[in-house]
């Protein structure tokens, strides 16, 4: 598979093929027709480098991108997760993605224990990433970042480091150019992500390796494509010309589980059929090994028009604003538990400082009945310094809808803090709802200990971590009339002029007694005329 990544890796290859050969690179593409009218394509590029991340200097690398290595080394980063997303993953109709990502940008990182000033490093890291990824991550700093207690656990091997996370809503660019950009924007959802973490080198876990996952997730809509019969050319503009010579594995998996309801035929037929049983859920995949010549895959559906009833997954959520006007408002996060059993979830909310929330207004109701949170963590925000951090541990009863609501005030900002026209308003990031599901229905995520899509086959575990991201919201803060300073200046000047005029008049004029002239006007004129004529 000739991905553009190959080109960048080649440069490093020439440089360091002799000194470093302990890293492996795999590339995978998962194509999954969803039960709704969409098709999901997920690219997973995984680099595993057998070095100890604690001692590695990142001066020499082969496949691992050195630019990233330098940043990681410099800011003492243990784990790094970045995602840039356009659109919103619709959990209720699409199920779960391989990697969850919030709309906009999301960065979270763990720093090593010996880091002196985490806040400073965090800001510098964000600035470096914004240069590396061409995204406006430089706005990430401590005033919009929180350190969650429950929601983000290190996914790799670690001893207790510090975590910081932040979500920003901004445009996406940079890594997306890996794929044909014209076709990426035909999608309903596109997300690029980068996950760096230390992992065990082998099962004994005596030594560490560094693992980098780079992924691109795309969701195409049959309506936008114009047909249900998809092919690689329709989705990406071209087929696969050949495999990447640097990759130890180049594979394409097509999820054929939905074929039982909407049967389709793949051409050419897959090299292999993989059946995966995971958490009581059976799925089948058609596997293609990318050859070193041109490969084009297409699917043809049977004619029959069927409308499937899509049942939503076990846990999904949405978030919205309540109230109107520019005085008071509320944020409501709705959590839906479709599972037949209780679910323990953690709701994390990072609310910007310009949306001051009131903890006493926090209400958690399940189908109208009060639901007491198991644990609650709250750190109030400080204007311009710290966002409001709220983390709630909840037990959701089976088959229920729970609403978490909290009220806030609209505030005025300083005049320079308003964004220039034209702006949509101020964004409030999405809430993150984390839970361990017991069933893996509609679940495609990678296991904690796995790094490739292959690892997720037959990977039954005791629980399946989902981190549902809700939609973000936009609010209009009360904006003063910016012509007001001008009006104030005008008014103030007028008042000063009115006060100054008489004062100046009184203080500078010399008062002279003038004899009153009782002469009538006519006489005066006559006198002046005669005086004039005499001259």
């Amino acid at each position: 598979m000739q991905f553009l990544t190959c080109a960048t890796y080649l440069i490093f290859y020439v440089n360091s093929v002799l000194t470093y050969n302990s890293d492996t690179f795999t590339e995978e593409l998962l194509i999954k027709p969803l039960y709704s009218e969409q098709i999901y394509a997920h690219f997973q590029f995984t680099t595993k480098w057998d070095v100890d991340p604690n001692t590695e200097t990142f001066n020499h690398s082969r496949i691992f991108p050195r630019a990233l290595g330098e940043i990681v080394k410099r800011y003492n980063v243990q784990e790094l997760h970045v995602s840039l997303t356009g659109g919103l993953w619709r959990y209720d109709s699409w199920g779960y993605p391989v990697t969850d990502a919030a709309p906009g940008a999301e960065v979270w990182a763990w720093f090593k224990t010996d880091t002196k000033d985490v806040n400073k490093n965090w800001k510098l890291l964000a600035n470096s990433l914004s240069g590396l990824l061409c995204a406006s991550l430089n706005f990430v700093d401590t005033s919009n970042s929180v350190s969650p207690e429950f929601s983000f656990k290190p996914t790799g091997v670690t001893d207790s480091p510090n975590v910081n996370s932040s979500y920003l809503s901004s445009g996406v660019s940079g890594l997306a150019s890996l794929l044909n950009s014209g076709y990426i924007h035909n999608t309903r959802y596109h997300s690029v992500a980068l996950h760096l973490r230390p992992v065990c080198r082998d099962e004994t876990c005596q030594s560490l390796s560094l693992e980098l996952q780079q992924s691109v997730s795309l969701v195409y809509d049959y309506l936008i494509l114009g047909t249900k019969n998809w092919s690689l050319r329709k989705l990406f503009g071209q087929g696969v010309t050949r495999n990447c010579i640097l990759a130890s594995r180049s594979e394409i998996y097509v999820d054929t589980t939905t074929s039982s309801t909407h049967s389709f035929e793949l051409s050419p037929p897959p090299d292999d059929v993989v059946t995966s049983i995971r958490g009581g859920h059976v799925s089948t995949f058609g596997k293609y090994n990318v050859p070193n010549y041109f490969l084009h895959i297409s699917a043809k559906y049977e004619e029959s028009q069927k409308l499937a009833v899509v049942s939503p997954p076990s846990l999904y959520a949405s978030q919205y604003l309540t109230g109107y006007g520019q005085e008071r408002g509320g944020i409501v996060t709705k959590l839906y538990n479709n599972h037949w059993d209780n679910l323990n979830v953690v709701v994390l909310q990072n609310i910007p400082w310009y949306v001051p929330i009131y903890l006493h207004t926090l209400k958690v109701t399940t189908d109208g009945v009060n639901n007491e949170p198991i644990t609650l963590r709250y750190i109030p925000g400080i204007q311009r310094e710290r966002p409001y951090y709220l983390e709630i541990l909840l037990k959701l009863p089976p088959k229920s809808a729970t609403a978490v609501s909290i009220d806030f005030d609209y505030v005025f900002l300083k005049w320079q803090e308003y964004p220039p026209d034209a702006n949509h308003g101020f964004y409030i990031g999405s809430a993150i709802i984390s839970s361990h599901l017991t069933l893996a229905r509609n679940y495609t995520g990678l296991p904690q200990d796995g790094s490739t899509i292959t690892d997720s086959f037959n990977a039954s575990r005791s629980g399946y971590l989902v981190q549902v991201r809700t939609e973000n919201m936009v609010i209009t803060l009360p904006t003063p009339d910016f012509s007001m300073p001008y009006n104030v200046i005008c008014l103030a000047c007028t008042v000063v002029a009115l006060a100054f005029g008489p004062l100046h008049n009184i203080t500078t004029r010399r008062l002279v007694l003038k004899p009153k002239n009782n002469e009538k006007l006519l006489f005066r004129l006559k006198r002046k005329l005669t005086e004039f004529l005499k001259k």
Partner: protein, 651 residues
Amino acid sequence: MGLLTDPGAGQGKFIKALLQYYSKICIILYFSGIIWFCALAYPPMNASTYFSENALLPGLVKSQFHEDKLASSFHNELLDEMKKYDNSIPYPWLLAKFKQIGLDTYTHNFTLYSPLNKKEKYSGKNVYGILRAARASSTEALVLSVPYRPPVSVHPTTAPSIAIMLAFAKYANKEKYWAKDIIFLITEHEQLGIQAWLEAYHGVTCGNENTLDHGDLKGRAGAIQAAINLELHSARIGQMDIKIEGLNGQLPNLDLFNLASKMCAKEGLYHTFKNKGQEYHRDPVKEWKYYFKNLIAMVATQATGIPNGNHGLFHRFGIQALTLEGFEQSKARGSSKVGFVSIGRIIEGTFRSLNNLLERFHQSFFFLFTPLFRQIHLHCISSFCVMLCRLYMPAVCLIAGALFIKSCAKWFKFEGSTNEEKRENTHEQQEITELKVDKIIFIFLLTHFCGVLIMNLPQYITLICDQYNYNASTCIFYTLSAISAVFLLLPYLVPFRTCERSMNMLNILCMLELGTVLICLAMNNFSLGIFCAAVSVPVALLVNPTSCRYYSVLQRILWLLTHPLVVLTTVVLVNTYLMFPDVKQKEIISRGLDATQQAIVYSIVDSMIYGNWMFSVVTSIFIPNWLCFWCIAFSDIKKPKNLLTEAKKTN
């Protein structure tokens, strides 16, 4: 004029002039206000309109909508389906269609507990589908709404608009350029359905608690930026009327209005405002007359504070909205009718322009006022002449200014010269002329308390009516009339009716209150403000504490005519006469009285369900103010001047 100088120096002249000429100044101010208002209808007095929001780029995209066949097949199917549902919404069919199109489909249930009779319960159901935009993450949305009308409805059908909405949804869902979700909303029970949906969407209750149970929504799509309400009465449209007046006299942003009219013009559809298209007159007087009629029509609708379409309920939530009502018959001679293709393209053009918006509608004309309709056929651009806030506010300010001038003059007349008087007056006279501030304030507060009492009365009346099984609406009307009649006796409670100074003080207070209220009202609802000002100010200027008996009787009769109930009855009677000019006078009066009764009950019900503030404003501000003036009209002053002269003579 200078600050920091002795205010008394050289200003005696102004006061003298004011005292001498204030009655003339008042008359001039009043009439100049009225003339200003009338002159607003003359085009050269108006600013011409333009698009202030550049991002809209109206009509720049090539229209591609061509699903007219689909629309007509939807229309036929819907007509068949409607036959099965006499009195409710055919929601299974609508849901199925939305789902087939590929929208996220939801239903919304709401219940109304009748505010007049708690036992009565009405329930309704709205259906909506959300087109999820490919380019965004559901942060912003646009709404296309249609009120569903069953075959038994008294209003003309809207089935064609549902058909075109579905066809447009099908077309739009294929496109990848949407950056805002589009909500396709079909509501039941006219304004009730849309109010319930909006309340549920924003999680608030606007009227009284326990009246409208707005239920809950399963699906949302972020902040709503704009809404178009579509009411097409026929598959072929000859005339499109654009309606804008909303609840409490709120109006949408002018850009949206311009956008809609431009789209209609682009498709060559005859579009009107207040059912009047463009007319050309060479004679400026005729031109003015034509525009003035439009102006009065708009003032009449806006002053009632009742929305003239489903769009009117969006405005409260900061959502710009208007109604496009399509009629088959056209008033214009020789205009052609358009079919589903053109209507679809009007909707497409409008929504693609709204999709371009990079920010909320905010610029330009929030206090817009568009009485005039002018179409420039060159380049098919239509433009409406607008009156901006700065143009129309002076009219009310001039009229209210008369009140301020008079109160100012009175103050100088009675308070400015107190010192001199005190010296002259004897001890007895001082007692008569002494200012009773505490009693004045007591009377002032008492009247306002009466107003608040009337405002809250309907709720308790309904409770009592419930127990004795009376008809609540007639009960409310008769109780209100009776109480108003009782309050007419209030002046006999005033202890200082003989004290001229105190009565004048009360008069000054009332005039200041009325003037302020009128200006505030005009800022919120200009039409209501100018109407109240034009009616009440001249009579309020005439009311004076007087010792002349004939003048006193005259001002009582005149002031009685401006009682809100009397004004309402008069307006309704005139309206009835205009609507049914052929009916006999007796019939008109009985019909008019019935209509008045209903108008009062509806305004109470509206304030309970929709949060319409008309009833509250009238009862809590206008009636108390009216009562204060009424007290002044009943002043019983013994001619103090004669006393003085007599005293001088004896001296």
